[in-house]
Each structure stands twice: as structure tokens, then as C-alpha cells.
Amino acid sequence: MANVVSIAAAAASLPWDVEVVRADFPALAQLVNGHPLVYLDNAATGQKPRAVLAALDNYYQRDCGNIHRSVHQLGERATEAYERARRTAQAFLGAAEPREIVFTRGTTEAINLVAATYGAANLRAGDEILLTGMEHHSNIVPWQLLAERTGARVKVAQVNDRGEVEMEEFERQLSPRTKIAAFGHISNALGTVNPVAEWTQRAHAAGAVVLVDGAQSAPHLPIQVSALGCDFFAFSGHKVFGPTGIGVLWGRAELLEAMPPYQGGGDMIASVSFERTTYNRIPYKFEAGTPHIAGAIGLGAALEYLQALGMARAAAYEQDLASYGAERLAALPGVRWIGQARERTAVFSLVVEGVHPHDVATVLDTEGIAVRAGHHCAQPIMDRFGVPATTRASLAFYNTRGEVDRLAEGLEKVRRIFQC
């Protein structure tokens, strides 16, 4: 909101001052089990800056009306704020037009939308859908459902020992039958940054349409969909430090226009009669029912916050944290992490020899350190590395070297308790 000044944003031209950035995130300043919180579960969800909380508050306290239908002031304000969020998302992604931005519940719904509409309309028996071995379940299951319905086949580009899909392997799995290629920009389980622009070129050359799952990249990298060259890009609001329950599907206007609607209901129609219903123009054709208005407004505030902060600066700072983390954690005996890709973000999928990730996470929690233990909704990549689960520390631009030290000390405590 205009009246909530972000100190960090004002300092955008100065060197990264992490303490100033942290001051924008009230949840970071708390004690957990008697220790200052060390929040290292950013791949699961990000904490929210004051600007987002203020935007939500403002909508519910002042501008709460329904959108696209109210003549009254509140409805007008709500509509303006909602559509402004769409323009912010357009700018954030470097998209050509606001109408290419469809609000969804999140990345999962965005992928399901494309599978259920573009996929159902264009795939036939014998066609192929290309995925990689490091996808999140949300970029696997919608395609499996589509394959079941259409008789298409899911193919998988396999991951090497470093946690990368090599270009030769990607090309090997492409064929003239590949109609859709869908892959994550950054692996949530490994932190691998995939060369999605190059993959997109190859997939386009084979005649496929490309969807990039940007759930893990939108919070950490500057995104320009025109530079990536893809056809669809999906991300979630809560991972870019906005509210839960809201996300974005970007699609090329000509593709979105040709796609059948996703859900039927209010707002997605031009006119309805029992004889014939005509659909609204894009993006409204894909936004049936009253959407998550507050969520979209809050997401817009989050994206404005990130833009003011500067995604390139944030990414550079996170790379420094990644190098420091790698150095600090590699020095710990009995601790390793899976995923050694040359291009990585600050994600460490840790294995403590002889200790189950769940026990690691419990010990760390008593030290006030929040990590994720489990298979990270990416069971195939866990199988690939022969582990049932890992303890994942995923960092963001508000984390510090000192917090990496706290993690290392916590892991030493784990080894002391389990005497390994």
C-alpha cells in the first residue's frame, strides 16, 4: 500500500542490509522454544512482509466489496485493487498484457487448469507429455490424470548423480509426439536451477508447448517469461511472501483464447441462457466465481515489495548464503546433502547419517530452527537418490550467515544426542 513505507525498499540502491530487510517481516522477530526463530522452510512457504499484511487489512477493513459487478464505491475500489494486482503480476513476469495473467489458487491449480483445458483439447492417444525426474507431485499427477483420460503417455527425462537433467537426456526424451513439456524452473527438493530457456527451445523445435513450474523460482530469481520463451508459467502467492490460496497462471494470449473454460460459474460468462452460454474474454473465462480478492491484492503487494527490493539483488545475496552454507555444512562430519548441481539456490536437502530426518527436525525445532523433514512432495527424486526422506533447509533473502551457523550447531547437537 502506498502509505506503508518499506524501509528495505527505500534502501534498494544501497548494499544489502539484511537486518533492515528482516525488520519488514514481523514473524521473524519471535522466540521459538526460547530461541530466536531461525526460519529455514522457505521452499514450503515464505514469511509475509508488513506491506502484505497491510494490504489484506486494508481490503477487509475498508474496501471489502465484490469485484466486477458492484456499482458502489467499495466494489469499485476492490475491483481496482484486484486488477492492479493483475498488472503488478504482469510486470513482475515481464508478460505482454494483463489479460495473460489468470489468478488461481496456486501453482497446483494453475497446472491442473492447463492440463484440464489445453491438455484435454489438444492431446490424443499416443501423444507424449515430457516431465523430468525432479518434479514436484503437483507437476506429475495432473499430467498422469490427463494421460489416463486421453491415452497420452508421460515420459520422464532422468536426473544425473549431481541432481541435473543433462541436455542430451532431455533431447533423447523429446519426440515428434511430445505435445507438452512441463518442468520445474528450480527443484524444491534439490535447489537445482534448470536451464529452462534452452529446454524450451528444444521442446518448441519438437513441436511441444512448454509449461514452466515457477513455484520455486518466482521467490528467488528475476523472471522474464519473454526471455524464458515458454508458453505457460505458474507460481504460488504464498511462496513469494504473499497470502496462501492465491497464485498465478501466465499463458500466451492466443493459447488462453483458444482453450476451453476450466470451471463454469459466475464471472466467466458473457451471457447465459438455457439454450446457449457464451464465455467471457480472457482472463475472466478462467476465473469462475468470486475469486480470492484479498489474496490477489495481498499477492500484488508482495510482488510490489519484491520489485522494490530488487530480485537481482536478492538473488545475489542468496547466492552468497548458498556458498557460505555449502562451506559450513560440508565441514560437519556425518552430514551431507543430495543435489550438487552446478546451478543451485540456497536449498540443502540434508542427510544426517544414522538419524531419521524427522528426528533431526524435532531436535532443530527445540533450538528454534524451522526446517522441513520428509519427501517434499517429490517422491521420485527421493527414490532416485535412495533416501526415503531428507531434512531440508531452504533459505531466503532475509536469512543470515549467523542463522546458517545456528543450523550447523543444531546439526552438531543432533549428532551428539544420537551419538553418531
Binding site: 522454544n33 538419524v355 531419521h356 528426528d359 526422506a389 544426542i417
Partner: protein
């Protein structure tokens, strides 16, 4: 603040490292599988019953320390118990790990009382109780895999 050594007591760490009855008992006539979706704990529990009494018990699987120790101590605790006694034990164990047992009730559980610290860690209750849910399935003999997602 919950104390970590209340959760990871000596007895639990010992059974987690060296689980007892980690085997398929000879002549096992009941078997059930359990799975904790949250953290991937997996168990296959085997029983040998004679006249409704558990004569032998063993398990296979993998999981966290709380889960492994719980399965290990379960296989020791149920030997010689009738189906009814085993189910009664589960009920009392469940009360313990969910914080619904007082001191006197905890003491009736013998070694299993070591799991008293689990009640301070609600997300770990599933780890402690998975083997017991699986036991119930093995005793009822319906053979359906057990999940902790009730």
C-alpha cells in the same frame, strides 16, 4: 518448553539403534502393514498366535527413532498377551502418548512409559502409535494397509 531428553530417553535411543525382534517370526500367521505419509515411516508387523494369544511378534520396516523404538518395544510387550489384552495395552499406550494418562496409569505400562515425553510433541504422536495401529489391523486380520492419516 518441552525437554528433548524427555522425548529421546535412553531406552528409546537404545531400541531405535538396536531394534528387538527385527525379523519375520517363524510360523507367523498374521501380518499387517502400516505407513506414515508425513515422514515415510513404514512397517510390516508379523504375529504368531496360538489360541488367541500372541506367542511371537516381529517387524520389518524403517522410520524415525520414535517409530522404531515404539515398534521394537511393542513386539516385546505383546508377547503372551491375548488379543483383548493387547488392545487394552494399545488403549493405555495411546492415552499416554496423547497426554491423557496420569502418573499411576503411566506406571502400569512398564517400559512403554518411556514414551510419556511424546505427548509434548503432537506431530510425533503418529510416529509413536503407527506400530500399534498396525497391531490392531494384524489382530483384526482384515489385512488392509494402515495409514496414520485417519
Amino acid at each position: 518448553m518441552p525437554e528433548l531428553d524427555e522425548l529421546y530417553q535412553e531406552l528409546i535411543l537404545d531400541h531405535a539403534k538396536r531394534p528387538r525382534n527385527f525379523r519375520v517370526p517363524e510360523g507367523a500367521d498374521r501380518r499387517a502393514e502400516g505407513f506414515n505419509r508425513l515422514c515415510g515411516d513404514r512397517i510390516t508387523l508379523f504375529l504368531r498366535l496360538e489360541d488367541g494369544v500372541v506367542r511371537d511378534a516381529g517387524f520389518q520396516g524403517a522410520g524415525c527413532a520414535i517409530f522404531t523404538a515404539s515398534a521394537s518395544l511393542l513386539t516385546e510387550a505383546v508377547k503372551g498377551k491375548s488379543e483383548q489384552q493387547a488392545e487394552d495395552l494399545f488403549r493405555r499406550f495411546h492415552a499416554l502418548v496423547t497426554g491423557h494418562a496420569d502418573q499411576a496409569q503411566a506406571e502400569t505400562l512398564g517400559k512403554l512409559a518411556a514414551f510419556g515425553g511424546v505427548s509434548a510433541y503432537p506431530v510425533r504422536v503418529k510416529c509413536a502409535s503407527l506400530a500399534w495401529h498396525t497391531l490392531k489391523a494384524a489382530l483384526s486380520g482384515d489385512g488392509a494397509p494402515v495409514s496414520t492419516e485417519e
